[in-house]
C-alpha cells in the first residue's frame, strides 16, 4: 500500500487519465452513431472514477474512494446501460444544429479557451492534479455544447451527464473532493434525472416516432 501511494503522486496516471477524459469528451462531439457516443460516455466515466480512485489512494481520504466507487457503479454502469438501451433503438445518426466538423473545431476552440483562462484564473499549479482543472473546465464547456447543439433528446441527456462528470472532476481537482453527502446527493439527483429523462424520451418517441426536440416547438391546442 505504501509503495502504491508513494508511486502514484509521482507517476502521472492522473494526467494520462485526464487525457483520456478529454479525448472521450471530444469523441462524444465527433461520433455519429448514438451507441458509439454512449460508449464514449461510459469510458469517460470510467476515466473519471479512476482519477478519483487515484486521488483517494494518494491522499488516503476514504470518502473520495467511496464516491469514486459510487460514480463507477452509477455513471459508468447504470446510466450508460439505460442510455444504451434507448440508443440501440435509434435508427438514425446523431443530428446536430451545426455540422460535426464545425462542432469539432468549435470544441477545439473551447478547449484552448478553457486551458488559457484556467491558467489566468488559478495560476500555474504544480500538484498532481495540475492538468485536471483545465480539463474539467474544457469538458464542462463541451458538455454544454453537446446539450445546445444536439436536437435528439437522448443526446442532450448525454451532454448533461458529460457536464456533470466534468463538474465532479473540477470538485476533485480544486478541493480534493466534496463531502460524501454532497457527492451522494448529486449522484442520486443525476440518476433520478436520467431515469425521468429516459422515460420522457420514451414517451416522446411513442408520440413523435423520434425524440427530436426541434419538433416540440409548435403548440397544439
Amino acid at each position: 500500500m505504501n509503495v502504491l501511494t508513494g508511486w502514484l503522486p509521482q507517476s502521472n496516471t492522473v494526467n494520462l487519465l485526464a487525457g483520456a477524459f478529454l479525448l472521450t469528451a471530444l469523441l462524444i462531439v465527433t461520433r455519429r452513431r448514438p451507441l458509439e457516443v454512449v460508449t464514449a460516455l461510459r469510458v469517460n466515466a470510467i476515466a473519471l472514477a479512476l482519477i478519483a480512485l487515484t486521488v483517494a489512494l494518494a491522499t488516503g481520504a476514504w470518502h473520495i474512494g467511496l464516491s469514486a466507487g459510487l460514480s463507477l457503479v452509477i455513471k459508468a454502469g447504470v446510466i450508460p446501460w439505460l442510455l444504451a438501451g434507448r440508443a440501440r433503438r435509434m435508427t438514425r445518426e446523431v443530428r446536430t444544429r451545426v455540422s460535426i466538423p464545425t462542432g469539432a473545431l468549435l470544441c477545439g476552440a473551447l478547449v484552448v479557451l478553457a486551458f488559457s483562462q484556467t491558467r489566468e484564473l488559478f495560476g500555474q499549479r504544480a500538484d498532481i492534479l495540475a492538468a485536471c482543472l483545465p480539463v474539467s473546465v474544457a469538458v464542462t464547456l463541451i458538455g454544454l455544447f453537446v446539450m445546445v447543439t444536439r436536437t435528439q433528446a437522448l443526446m442532450q441527456v448525454v451532454g448533461l451527464v458529460l457536464l456533470e462528470n466534468a463538474i465532479f472532476l473540477a470538485a476533485v481537482s480544486l478541493t480534493y473532493g466534496m463531502p460524501l453527502v454532497v457527492e451522494a446527493g448529486v449522484l442520486l439527483d443525476l440518476l433520478a434525472g436520467v431515469t425521468v429523462l429516459g422515460l420522457f424520451v420514451r414517451r416522446l418517441e411513442d408520440a413523435l416516432g423520434e425524440a427530436d426536440t426541434e419538433r416540440l416547438t409548435e403548440l397544439r391546442g
Binding site: 484552448v112 486551458f115 495540475a130
Partner: protein, 315 residues
C-alpha cells in the same frame, strides 16, 4: 563506430521484417475469421515471384516511370534509417530530423502519384488525386503530433525525442501526450492504407487508392514498390511506438544485452499493433471516401489541441 553498425543493422532489420509484419497481420485476420490463412512469409514469396517476372511498360510512359520504383524504395530506406528502432543512437542525425523524415515520405507520395499518371489510364489519375488528397490532410496532423513531442527536448531530432521520453519519469507525461498519440494513431491508420481508409485487397476501381497507383506497373518494379510500401508501414508504426511508448529502447552506446532487450520490446510492440490492426480491420467497415477528411480533420484537431494544451500547461 558501434552506433553506426547498430543503425545499419536496424535499418536492414526493418527492411527484412516489413513484409513479414504484413504477413502477420493477414495471419491474425485469417484466424479471427476462422481460416488458416497464408503463411507468415507469403509477402516475401510474392516479392520473389514478382522479381522473376517480365516488366511491361506502357508505351506512353516516359523514362521517369522507369526510375520511380527504385527512387521510391531508396527514399523509403533512408526514412527507415532515420527512425530510432532499437537504439537512440543519433545514426543519421547529421543528415536531418523529423522534418526530413516527413519530407521523404512526401517525396515518395509525389513520385508514386507521378508514376500513376505515367501510363495514361484513368484509374491511375483517380488514384493519384485521392492519394494526394489524403497526403494533404494527413501530413499536417503527422507534423503537429511529432512537434508536440519535440517541445520538451527542444530538438527535432527523432533520437533526442525518443531519449527524452524514455528517460523522463512518468510524471513528465501530460494529457497532451495521449492526445498527440491518438492523433498520430489516426494518421498512421490512414497512411498505412488499411481498412478504415483504404482496402488493400480490393481491385474495385472506384474504391482503391494504393492498388490504383501501382495498377500499370509489373515485374521487378512492382516488387520494389510493394516492398517500399511494406517498409513505409513499418517505419510509421515504429515511429508511433518508439516515440510515444519508447520504454525498452536501448541508449546510445549500449551493449548487446540492452540491444537484445530492445529488439524483444520492439517485436512485442509490433506484435500488439499487428493484433490491434487485424481486429480493427475485421470489425470495422471501410469509410466512405468523403468521411476520410473528417477522420483526418479529427486527427489534426487532436494534434493541434495537444500542441496548445502542452505549451499552456508547461507555461
Amino acid at each position: 563506430m558501434m552506433d553506426l553498425l547498430v543503425v545499419i543493422a536496424q535499418t536492414v532489420l526493418v527492411a527484412l521484417l516489413a513484409p513479414v509484419w504484413a504477413g502477420a497481420v493477414s495471419v491474425v485476420r485469417a484466424r479471427l475469421q476462422g481460416r488458416r490463412g497464408a503463411p507468415l512469409l507469403q509477402r516475401w514469396r510474392d516479392l520473389r515471384k514478382l522479381a522473376g517476372k517480365e516488366t511491361v511498360w506502357s508505351e506512353d510512359a516516359s523514362p521517369l516511370a522507369r526510375v520511380v520504383p527504385t527512387a521510391v524504395l531508396g527514399a523509403t530506406f533512408v526514412a527507415a534509417a532515420l527512425v530510432p528502432v532499437l537504439s537512440t543512437a543519433p545514426g543519421l542525425g547529421f543528415a536531418g530530423d523529423l522534418l526530413l523524415l516527413v519530407a521523404l515520405l512526401a517525396i515518395v507520395r509525389v513520385l508514386l502519384s507521378l508514376l500513376a499518371l505515367e501510363a495514361g489510364t484513368a484509374f491511375g489519375g483517380m488514384a493519384a488525386s485521392r492519394h494526394l488528397m489524403l497526403a494533404a490532410l494527413a501530413e499536417p496532423a503527422l507534423l503537429l503530433s511529432l512537434l508536440t513531442l519535440a517541445i520538451a527536448p527542444g530538438s527535432t531530432q527523432l533520437a533526442d525525442i525518443a531519449r527524452t521520453v524514455a528517460a523522463a519519469p512518468l510524471s513528465w507525461l501530460s494529457p497532451a501526450h495521449l492526445l498527440a498519440a491518438t492523433a498520430m494513431g489516426f494518421v498512421v491508420l490512414a497512411e498505412i492504407g488499411r481498412v478504415p481508409v483504404d482496402n488493400p485487397v480490393t481491385h474495385l476501381e472506384l474504391t482503391m487508392v494504393h492498388e490504383g497507383l501501382v495498377l500499370d506497373v509489373s515485374g521487378p518494379p512492382l516488387a520494389h514498390l510493394e516492398w517500399a510500401s511494406h517498409v513505409r508501414t513499418l517505419v510509421l508504426l515504429t515511429l508511433l511506438t518508439n516515440l510515444f511508448v519508447p520504454w525498452g529502447l536501448a541508449p546510445a552506446g549500449a551493449g548487446w544485452g540492452a540491444l537484445g532487450l530492445a529488439l524483444l520490446a520492439w517485436l512485442a510492440k509490433l506484435g500488439v499493433l499487428a493484433v490491434v490492426i487485424a481486429v480493427i480491420e475485421s470489425v470495422t467497415a471501410r469509410m466512405r471516401l468523403f468521411r476520410v477528411p473528417e477522420f483526418l480533420g479529427m486527427a489534426f484537431l487532436l494534434a493541434l489541441l495537444a500542441l496548445t494544451t502542452d505549451s499552456l500547461l508547461r507555461g
